[in-house]
Subunit: 828 residues, 2 copies
Amino acid sequence: MTASTEPKTVDRSPLSDEMVGRIDRWWRAANYLSVGQIYLLDNPLLRTPLAREDVKPRLLGHWGTTPGLNFLYAHLNRAIKEREQSTIYVTGPGHGGPGLVANTYLEGTYSEIYPDISQDAEGMRRLFRQFSFPGGIPSHVAPETPGSIHEGGELGYALSHAYGAAFDNPDLLVAAVVGDGEAETGALATSWHSNKFTNPNKDGVVLPILHLNGYKIANPTVLARIPADELRSLMVGYGHRPYFFEVPDDADDAQAGADHADAHRRFAALLDDVLDEIAAIKARAAAGDDSPPSWPMIVFRTPKGWTGPDYIDGKKTTGSWRAHQVPLGNARDTEEHLRVLADWLACYRADELFDADGRLQPDIAELAPQGQLRMSDNPHANGGLLLKDLRLPDFRDFAVDVPEPGATLAEATRVLGQWLTEVIRLNPDNFRIFGPDETASNRLQAVYDATDKQWNAEFFGPEVDEHLARAGRVMEVLSEHQCQGWLEGYLLTGRHGLFNCYEAFIHIIDSMFNQHAKWLKVTDHIPWRRPIASLNYLLSSHVWRQDHNGFSHQDPGFIDHVVNKSANVVRVYLPPDANTLLSTYDHCLRSRQYVNVVVSGKQPAPNFLTMEQAVAHCTRGLGIWEWAGNEVLGADPDVVLAAAGDVPTLEALAAVDLLRTHLPDLRVRFINVVDLMRLQDSTEHPHGLSSREFDMLFTTDKPIIFAYHGYPWLIHRLTYRRTGHANLHVRGYKEEGTTTTPFDMVMLNDLDRYHLVMDVIDRVPALGSTCATLRQQMADKRIAAREYTRAHGDDIPEVKEWVWPAAKEAGVDTNAVAAAADTGGDNE
Amino acid sequence: MTASTEPKTVDRSPLSDEMVGRIDRWWRAANYLSVGQIYLLDNPLLRTPLAREDVKPRLLGHWGTTPGLNFLYAHLNRAIKEREQSTIYVTGPGHGGPGLVANTYLEGTYSEIYPDISQDAEGMRRLFRQFSFPGGIPSHVAPETPGSIHEGGELGYALSHAYGAAFDNPDLLVAAVVGDGEAETGALATSWHSNKFTNPNKDGVVLPILHLNGYKIANPTVLARIPADELRSLMVGYGHRPYFFEVPDDADDAQAGADHADAHRRFAALLDDVLDEIAAIKARAAAGDDSPPSWPMIVFRTPKGWTGPDYIDGKKTTGSWRAHQVPLGNARDTEEHLRVLADWLACYRADELFDADGRLQPDIAELAPQGQLRMSDNPHANGGLLLKDLRLPDFRDFAVDVPEPGATLAEATRVLGQWLTEVIRLNPDNFRIFGPDETASNRLQAVYDATDKQWNAEFFGPEVDEHLARAGRVMEVLSEHQCQGWLEGYLLTGRHGLFNCYEAFIHIIDSMFNQHAKWLKVTDHIPWRRPIASLNYLLSSHVWRQDHNGFSHQDPGFIDHVVNKSANVVRVYLPPDANTLLSTYDHCLRSRQYVNVVVSGKQPAPNFLTMEQAVAHCTRGLGIWEWAGNEVLGADPDVVLAAAGDVPTLEALAAVDLLRTHLPDLRVRFINVVDLMRLQDSTEHPHGLSSREFDMLFTTDKPIIFAYHGYPWLIHRLTYRRTGHANLHVRGYKEEGTTTTPFDMVMLNDLDRYHLVMDVIDRVPALGSTCATLRQQMADKRIAAREYTRAHGDDIPEVKEWVWPAAKEAGVDTNAVAAAADTGGDNE
């Protein structure tokens, strides 16, 4: 199925005329099928003269990039077959959907997967009709397209995805076409540097092909309009050895067969050179040469809309931005456009390509490799086929000891790191951790006991290069785009991983998350797409503890962004301590087809649950912490205090402590929420609580004071249909912050224990009048705390030394707790 | 104040020893003040031996990048003074906050703005204490920092901001320091190409200084670990002429004065070369040479934490990632660290720099230029000082004619484009439009009657290069990051603009929006920062009309993202037609200190309001459309239909039409919402309606069926405290879509007219039993519509030809309406 590790070199005699012809005929067939998909409703083989009613009523799609994609596909097929080189094709200009569908149809894969779209005239009619048509298929390269791991929607991620696919697939070649429009995006511009993060022995090879077709929707592209020397320098600067291929935009000859034959000969020779060079680099690396190689890449300059109409309505089309989308917008409406379309379709001479039944001529079909060597059938592009369960160490073995709630402290992510270390050990070739220079800052550094950070640029020696190696399971680059793109590519090809990131800056990949969530939603309904591992986020260095960085680093809104996506895909967890984090993450690494967002602090914080309790709590997703409240069995409490998130849980518990001290007769229920989606109704989210369950927990008529990690409105958005919603009062981050102490931060947002007590007093009807003094005490404490903080640059001892009463009774040293709280370090 | 257009060249004799000494002493002073800010609570001039209690209890800040920033600042000051060159300093590694504060303090600006921080010992004590301290200033370069237009939080935008500042400021030099960590981000990687979009005559010059200090938080940087030739190629490939400066990391000599003197001499000479070359390029361009210049840039390689302790606890610190943050975390806790800190501070010999009163020695102060030539006092860095109101043409002159509601059609953004054309004509030097290759696709192409797209790469001639010119008011590059960054830089330096973008892909800059919104929020409370123009988005090609692109291009969630930010800053508008869009945008372009999000379709759609009505409606922000409903004056209606957004408004009106036809006795109120923030309570947002107003409009007990443009949950989040909220039922985009017809899209999300009628039937108690037949009819219509669409590839005539009854009575040709609806074109 896959090739041997030793890549083949091949006979370098010039391409035979027969092969030239075969490639050209494949290309023409793919182009014909592409144009057919964009324009034709019927009459696929043009058995009768093209009529207006053969043309679709709404012409929707993109032609411009397509012939170039088809040309590359045909040539790659020749090379793959000769070299038996397992290869996948990443289509950066994914709006060239018709091209990829066409090639996969020619390879037979399409009909194997979708038997309705058979390889005959009727199948071709359906192929054409379904494209970008109601009830049909999307116009872009999409999950529905065999062989794709890369949705052709948002631009910029082709190379990141390609490298992600290549990691730990040493026998794989990833041909990654980069559009010159896409090349202007930030994500793509930095992703060229991925070559410094790959290992020639342990990873596959990415062959970037910069498709310089010169134009975007309405403009020239930057890289097509800089001097050739400058472009060469840029690629050399990116660490590549560029190979240049050019088909000039000579409108008169654009469709001339002789020119095309020359182009085929030239490109085939160039591709052989490139693949031989890749083989040579791999061989050198296998022999022990560990100097960073300059991998080849191809600059592929062809006219936009190549082989299409040169001029339409007197305006230059092929070789211009006018070829970007549907060049003949009025093909159904005007005779003139219809005639141009007929001539255009005729230029491919379909009768030479397909037999009378509409079947591809056998000698053309011969160009494609067999079985899974077809790029459309490569199992790496349907990663679920290759997915193996992770071997997971028992997370219970990594539990922190919790003799009493709050009696011990831990840095939750540091504990998680210890478990992840074993995950890495047990899964040496299908699990990686990705992060933007923050893996140690997020306190996962235990993983460096088992692995290193993969790096293939220069080394300066152990004094400065800690845990840096040519191969390793941790991928660190200061680009959230790269982390996300690499991980997506890695997951889509059937592996596992997680992305650890500062909470605020995960917004950098909001849009990439969107696309991945959409991909997962769609693939849920594509039976031949097998489930892949979930995309797991670990968001640490969160909003409440940006001690070094302040306001710019405070944004808990990624959760809000995530919950707008399909409920079948998104999961959000806010484990309150170390053991719950372990239990949560074990669950996440076992799951499939989700995006799991886990938010956890990295600072020393109390542990509340034993591992047994943690597992039970996480299994329920939320629940009453009976040890914290003081309600009477069988009776509703006077007030519900709820918390989601580690810092809010701490403040809410401290508030309960105050309430129990000052108002011992008040019956308090304490609820902690780990799985945020439990708050939604069961009809809205698969994790949602039924009304009955929710009402039993939160009551229908008692005040609920909810301390939440993020923007408070989200809790309302999730619960607005709940019976007791009118009694719900949420505290959270309301966009107030700066560089200050942790307790000052919660005070700035009214999430602090004193304010929560005030909220309870304000909300429990019976308390309002009798507790004026206590309320005033709390208000005074806030003022005093702020004054102390501004005077001393530190939080008040009362807060720093606070521990849960049971823990204090058990003899916890409150001074030690206060000292542990003093860590402002290890942030960015 | 600013220099003449003719840049000065200067005497090139070697730097005098006196000047070398002055620069070095400035640098030492800045370094001393930087270290002091990070560590010292008291004893600023070390009049007594450093004691533990002089050290801050929480050490928070970043040292590593700071000495390099200080070095550059000192040298720029020398050059600025000699050349009288108006210059601003953009600090990419903005976590080097102490450095920028130090330099602006040395320049005197800091004390002018903050008199408490005086230029004497007491002022210095306060300067130190306030840094990253509760009640003090942020640790990063921030709005509070004089001379800054660039928050030092999220990395990646230094060059985009710098170029944005330079546009239309021909006399300005923007020294933009790019951190080598930041250089790994996507946004930064593509922003180097900004040089192809600047005009040497009409724009200022950006001097990129790549600060290669080698390390990030915990890793080496990519650009510091590629061969020097490769880095040179990269910069040449980016279109620059690189100048290399290096101070080797020779730990033994790091603090040696002789080395520093040599470094000063070498860098001063290099800087003079660079500035002379810039002057020469400007002169050539002024003389008519329009070949794209290779602007100089500087690669500035210095040890990270330069002049700091070489080793701490036996580990290499200076010249390693360990110098990134606070190298001596235990300076207050251990004698050893305290001693290292004392030695470190002593190495700057503060007694040679400050007099007995703590004032900077006059000869050092001489290094700084005077007044607004100080980078900290340059008015461009406090753009509100320079802001001029736009000269706005009367938008009423661009009104579309609306004889009856729905009687005419328009493409709203195309109409807006006609007004923007005049805005451009009237404001030729302080207004620009930014867009990622979508300005024409978003139908603003009328602006090309007045201007061009600015482009300074190669031209291929008029056949393909439409509206492309060396100078123009439209900035198009396929990078949302660049569009956002340029616009931010342009606004922050006192100009106006808008960013037009496909709705879905504005998420690419979610995180940049966050930072800008935070900047605006903070500056609202900084009196010396003058208000700047609002950042205006025009989001078109929206979720409902992604006919070409389908699911990947459908995401209306930017609004959800935006509303989490401070209510004082964000505004969201959903004008339902062309005239309301004109009125809305006129308001936006006049506003200050906001982020205005305007969502508007570009497809032909009915016009509902005359300009007079539109102005009144937009002024109110929402209101009853009396012509649409049939309520009886003085009585509550039976049901409220509300709509926000153009497509939802159309569907809701069509639903009203159906209701009035089939259920003439049902009293319907129709409300349209333009200003989404009106839905919030007046206590939550300045635009919010009072409870009384809201209740009067929406009733407290009648069903409200709300057709919303985006994710439906947002409407609940905005209204959950409203009296009638339990009666509110929202339809919107629930993440269902593909490439299909417009009506199929609304049906997929149950936002279509038939479903809205069903919703009314289900919600109005009196109707439930009597309307079973009508409800079934509506359900059948949905099925029939889908079947028709799948058969014909088009929407049903009944929908396409629908017009509001009054318009039909007035003789509107429904076939023409249907034909206009057929435009799927002009999308990406």
